[in-house]
Symmetry: C2
Subunit: 344 residues, 2 copies
């Protein structure tokens, strides 16, 4: 790393990604960019809602609602109640303060701003130093096939509390979408790239499904490290564990490593797993990536910061052990994970 | 009048019109239609806002905010506060519950519903028995010229608290707008038509500016009675008194009568004025309409009901004294006010 600010780029979904990003943002001398999944976006009551982007914004701003795990703290629910009175759909709860975000986004988009521009404006208004970057400016919509057919992601995730087995995933619109220029710049200029402990299928997987995204990551000069969202065989939050069962793979830290190693060969230089999964480290390393066990569950702000520190130190060690300055490997080479593996 | 429900049609702006309409709705055996000014409508944060329609809806539903004089009771302001944080315009305050109304309206309009349909849906959801009818389905936008130029109505009314003299009024879009079929039906089928104590220039005047509206009222079989919004030389609420000064006329009950008699000859069969203006009755009658003095200021629900009763009784007397059943005059004749005048 250089003596200047360490440039850290996090790929993130909602809560887990937001927490790790928040941890990184708390560190001194770090310049943070967060590339956020937009496949969860939806339109409701005419509002353009971008749940993962907002979770990242609110969390970085210290405004996230710790009780609900989504939305804003000190929230009120007057509009929600009134919407119910009008017979409008209320399965996706929108707090009053949260609605303000959606109103601003919707009207700015209608005025011709891009999601990237709107998010930059929202982040600036919230006083954020970090760059929060929607993965794409064109719409991508994640769909989940359950036994009875295809559902929009939020209809499954929130509307049915992801109770049905996810049998298949598709990302509508992804072929026409591209990582934004800001996203590609955040990848290219990063000193460390972290895949947050977000859902590998419908958070990180959505970002990685963008045409050009994996090649950009493979070609970046920075080490790419992931944090396992599976701890002791279960997802910290959400349906990631059950999705491994129904979509293939194993709900374990090793399963996460295999998932990335198989689907995105050479992408991950290292994986951070929870201390509960320390026994998986050797098997993970045999897959061709480094591995490190630490406490990954983030109950409090201090946990976020510590996991961020540990993850960045792990990535720094990968670079050091590779014995090169960044970019330490030929960006064209497919086996960039190898030096890290041998050094772990 | 028939023994069946008395069909009462009120032309209304915001608060004054809503209160009188509410009073009518409290009476037994009355079938109420309220034709509401939409010239005050605006778009803000991408929301389609129809302030007078909403004031009528909320008031009839018993949900109006008595303290503010607009919006909903038990309101919260979380979205407003957050909009301010985002630097969005906050000069037009939107409560959280109120925003739900605008969200429903906006999304229904975007789905192709007409303002009339949306308002019917909102009224049904609020459990209203009355028909609340936007005056037109096509947009009409009232503009006010002040010394420095033209302003949108709400920019003047709310944004500048109507502090500037109104020098001229125009109704953008009115030439392309028409009274809706529901409005014309409410006029044609009415047993009594009442012009609420709303602003004669920018509430009632807007409705009357619709092509075909005055002929429809002149051709209706029902007596048309107004309630003066000016009491003892001052407007109960809003800028009506000052508008008489700057736009021509006199801010008095007699001035109101002259305004209608001059601009809409034959329209008003009678005018209800406040007891404070009882001395104006003879002069008003000399203009060719009946006049009656009663308490018109509506502090409480009971005042609304009593004014409604008095106004309907006044109208009923006009019909009786004309010695005919409704329709008591040839709907084609232009001098339908005459029998009422002679009988007053």
């Amino acid at each position: 790393m250089t003596d200047a600010n360490m440039r850290v780029t996090v790929l993130a979904g909602g809560v887990g990604g937001a927490k790790l990003s928040h941890g990184v943002s708390m560190l001194p001398d770090v310049d943070l960019s967060v590339i956020v999944n937009t496949g969860d976006d939806l339109e409701l009551h005419g509002l353009a809602i971008s749940p993962d982007v907002d979770t990242v914004l609110y969390t970085l701003a210290g405004l996230a609602n710790a009780e609900t795990g989504w939305g804003l703290r000190d929230e009120t629910w007057s509009a929600h109640e009134m919407l119910g009175r009008y017979g409008a759909p209320t399965w996706f709860r929108l707090g009053d303060r949260d609605i303000a975000t959606h109103l601003v986004r919707t009207s700015r988009l209608a005025a011709g701003a891009t999601p990237t521009e709107v998010t930059r404006e929202l982040a600036a208004a919230l006083g954020l130093g970090a760059r929060v970057l929607p993965m794409a400016d064109r719409p991508v919509r994640t769909r989940i096939r359950i036994a009875t057919g295809w559902l929009e992601l939020q209809a499954w995730f929130v509307g049915r509390r992801h109770a049905d087995d996810a049998l298949e995933i598709r990302f509508d619109g992804v072929d026409d979408a591209r990582p934004t220029a800001a996203v590609l710049d955040a990848v290219r200029s990063a000193d460390v790239i972290a895949l947050a402990p977000s859902n590998p299928f419908i958070s990180i997987g959505t970002i990685l499904a963008l045409p050009g995204m994996v090649p950009a990551l493979l070609g970046a000069g920075a080490p790419v490290v992931g944090v396992s969202p599976i701890v002791a065989g279960a997802a910290i939050k959400g349906p990631a564990d059950r999705m491994f069962e129904t979509l293939g793979g194993e709900a374990s830290a090793l399963g996460v490593a295999r998932h990335y190693a198989t689907r995105y060969p050479g992408l991950l230089d290292g994986l951070v797993v929870d201390v509960a999964d320390a026994a998986h480290v050797p098997a993970i390393e045999r897959l061709g990536m480094a591995a490190m066990a630490t406490t990954t569950v983030m109950h409090h702000d201090i946990d976020r910061r510590r996991l961020a520190e540990d993850t960045l130190a792990f990535a720094r060690d990968l670079v050091a052990s590779a014995g090169t300055a960044t970019p330490r490997v030929d960006p064209v080479a497919g086996d960039r994970g190898a030096p890290a593996k041998s050094g772990a």
